[in-house]
């Protein structure tokens, strides 16, 4: 975790340009649109974030906030059409992926960057054995023979602690439990030891005891391979447990970015603050929970100014007309806090109020 200090440009908040070579992955002003019958849905509107090797960035947001679409654009698996990257750059070790030829991107996927999906049952092919699917990585990218690939598949299954891996390598996805399927997905993403893993809600479909197993495994493997990890989730508990830095998304924009401890201790955006306050806590027992009023906006008709203003308790006239940039967050002595930014005109009031 190292950050440049004094970042004033909104796009650079949280970026690491000081440490030689730049970050592992940097997303710059990414915008993604979908053509729908109701008009153009602006799913992502100028998102910038970056991840370093060995670092965990949590992208936190509700459904429809654009967190998964951003990940799909990074991986190059966006459905086009109806989706379209309207603007921005995705720099992987300094190379812009969005302008790279498809063949090059295909080689990078799996080899250098990989993705773990939420629903393992629908992400694995039901008519192929898990051994075949795991081995495919080695056959396609490394030109391994079938026997070799099978051996590597067994190794991988052992790595992610699937009991009796050798006997189960020819089993089909439906023969495994939910937790084991998710571990097979992780094994597949890790197969070629990529530099970057994007995990899209990796444990949402799992029970808490299994979720704990899977998150522990993921963290352990990340440490071992020194990978960058983008964890996409809506679970504030999981984020507090594993993230180094957090980017909070709302209606296709990053509204707050901060190191994990600072964000939980003192949120600087009313949306983040509302989310944290709406968690049921011990001392609120029997009392009414704080609830953010209203509903997330429709992406085809985003509110003017700050997208959060119709639900915000602090909203004023200014919020309806002027869209707040990602302001650097300053501490009591007016010095910028490393890696902190808030897209709110009233971040000061939110932070101290």
């Amino acid at each position: 975790m190292s950050h440049d200090t004094g970042a004033t440009d909104a796009a650079e908040v949280g970026a690491d340009d000081a440490g030689g070579g730049g970050p592992l992955l940097a997303v710059r002003d990414l915008a993604v649109e979908f053509r729908t019958r109701e008009g153009t849905a602006r799913a992502v509107n100028g998102v910038s974030y970056c991840v370093d090797s060995g670092e965990t960035l949590a992208v936190l947001g509700e459904s429809g906030s654009g967190k998964s679409v951003t990940a799909q654009a990074i991986m190059g698996i966006l459905d086009t059409p109806p989706g379209r990257v309207a603007a921005g750059r995705v720099l992987f070790r300094g190379r812009d992926l969005l302008t790279a030829p498809e063949e090059e991107r295909r080689r990078l996927r799996g080899e250098r960057m990989a993705m773990i999906f939420q629903d393992a049952l629908s992400s694995l092919n039901p008519v192929l054995s898990v051994g075949y699917q795991l081995g495919e990585m080695f056959r396609v990218h490394r030109g391994a023979s079938r026997r070799e690939a099978r051996e590597r598949a067994v190794d991988l299954m052992e790595r992610v602690r699937i009991p009796a891996a050798r006997e189960r390598v020819n089993d089909y996805p439906h023969q495994f439990s939910g937790g084991m399927r998710q571990r097979i997905m992780i094994a597949m993403a890790l197969a070629l030891e990529p530099d970057l893993i994007i995990a899209d809600e990796p444990t949402t479909a799992l029970d808490v005891t299994v979720q704990a197993q899977v998150m522990e495994l993921l963290a352990e493997l990340q440490r071992e391979f020194h990978m960058g990890l983008i964890l996409i989730t809506h679970d504030l508990g999981v984020v507090a447990d594993v993230a180094d830095r957090i980017a909070v998304m709302y209606a296709g924009r990053i509204v707050e970015t901060a190191p994990v401890k600072e964000l939980y201790a003192a949120p600087a955006h009313p949306y983040t603050k509302g989310l944290l306050e709406s968690i049921p806590r011990l001392d609120h027992k029997g009392k009414e929970l704080y609830a953010i009023q209203g509903l997330p906006p429709s992406l085809t008709a985003l509110p003017s100014g700050c997208s959060f203003h119709p639900r915000c308790p602090l909203a004023t006239e200014r919020c309806t007309t002027e869209r707040p940039p990602l302001h650097p967050v300053l501490d009591a002595s007016e010095a910028p806090v490393a890696g902190r930014g808030s897209a709110c005109h009233y971040w000061k009031e939110t932070l101290h109020g």
Binding site: E62, S63, P163, S177, G178, G179, M180, D207, V208, T209, V210, Q211, A212, Q213, M215, E216, H234, D235, L236, G237, V238, V239, A240, D241, A243, V260, K261, Y264, A265, G274, L275, L276, S278, I279, P280, R281, L282, H284, K285, E288, L289, Y290, A291, I292, Q293, L295, P296
Partner: protein, 346 residues
């Protein structure tokens, strides 16, 4: 709601539900059974909220279906005001059903997309015409929409025109239509966005106070259950392993499964990272077709000894806790129950 009179409105005694597994087409023979609910007993008091927590496959949704009389139990009794509803049929069953309603998990599939909101919420009146005279029904539906915080003007809209949180409000309004005494909620907020969950939880609490409802709250989110429940039961593989007030279960759990479950819940406080004790259970929940002998939890338990394999622990105040005063003294089905006070915000 601690001051409510302790009058059980629902009593469940030795409830069992086994789903038979058969083989053969013409000559079906039973080769086994999925023991979804395996001898559970509990009470639901008037005006209280009983939370049932457990992992998927533990049988908590089957319990809900049995209470609704949507499934016939293999054995056991469900007493509603002293009357066994599992034996009822016809008119008598219909009368009881009016008082026990349900709110479902998925607000996207539990509302008929071809019916207007007015028809959905008014449908219970078709089945129970005595609840509202015909001319009054539209007015009644508008009133219900207002009660759950929706604009009564929306009465002619279709479900797809609403967001997830609004649809769940429609589902709640339907559940309330007949003025029931008990509402069984199967994961009522888990399909909703985080910022909307709090709205729905607040609504349900307000309605409980307003109408004196008893809730049976089935959920896997332990912090939500803690927030709204007066008592909590923990289920594992078809059995209740521990039951008590929210404080007894969350702060003084004595069953190892409850302890592991609570320690696995991620706490939204990064300061506690690495500082709290985590019990990571190994392996998966065994198949309910062939549950382990003795204590069902022993295959994943770090305390398991020989006794656990042969002798099934009863759900009662464990040995050694009979004399203890305070919250550790509550029913827990473990031979080696031990108190563990945890650092957790769940």
């Amino acid at each position: 709601m601690a001051e409510t009179a302790r009058e059980p409105i629902l009593e469940v005694r030795h409830l069992v539900k086994h789903f038979p597994l058969t083989r053969g087409v013409l000559f079906k023979r039973q080769v086994g059974a999925v023991k979804a609910v395996d001898d559970i007993s509990f009470e639901l008091f008037r005006g209280e909220t009983l939370g049932i927590v457990g992992e998927s496959g533990c049988g908590k949704s089957t319990v809900a279906k049995l209470l609704m009389n949507l499934e016939q139990p293999t054995s056991g009794e469900i007493l509603y005001k002293g009357e066994d509803i599992t034996k009822l049929s016809g008119r008598a069953l219909k009368a009881v059903r009016r008082n026990i309603q349900m709110v479902f998990q998925d607000p996207y599939t539990s509302l008929n997309p071809r019916m207007t909101v007015g028809d959905i919420i008014g449908e219970p009146f078709e089945i129970h015409p005595e609840a509202a005279p015909k001319g009054d029904r539209r007015a009644k539906v508008r009133e219900l929409l207002d009660v759950v915080g929706l604009n009564p003007e929306y009465i002619n809209r279709y479900p797809h025109q609403f967001s997830g949180g609004q649809r769940q409000r429609i589902g709640i309004a339907r559940g309330l239509a007949l003025n029931p005494e008990i509402i069984i909620c199967d994961e009522p907020v888990s399909a909703l966005d985080v910022s909307v969950q709090a709205q729905v939880i607040n609504l349900m609490e307000r309605l409980q106070d307003e109408f004196g409802l008893s809730y049976m709250m089935i959920a896997h989110d332990l912090s939500v259950v803690r927030h709204i429940s007066d008592r909590v039961g923990v289920m594992y593989l078809g059995k209740i392993v521990e039951i008590g007030t929210d404080r007894e279960i969350y702060e003084h759990p004595t069953h190892p499964y409850t302890q592991a479950l609570l320690s696995a819940v991620p706490v939204p406080d990064p300061e506690l990272r690495g500082r709290r004790e985590r019990i990571i259970l190994h392996g998966d929940v065994p198949s309910p077709t062939n549950p382990p002998s003795g204590c069902h939890f022993r295959t994943r338990c770090w305390k398991a000894r020989e006794r656990c394999a042969v002798e099934e622990p009863p759900l009662a105040v464990p040995e050694g806790f009979e004399e203890v005063e305070g919250p550790a003294r509550h029913p827990s089905a473990c031979h080696f129950a031990e108190e563990k006070t945890r650092v957790s915000g769940a």
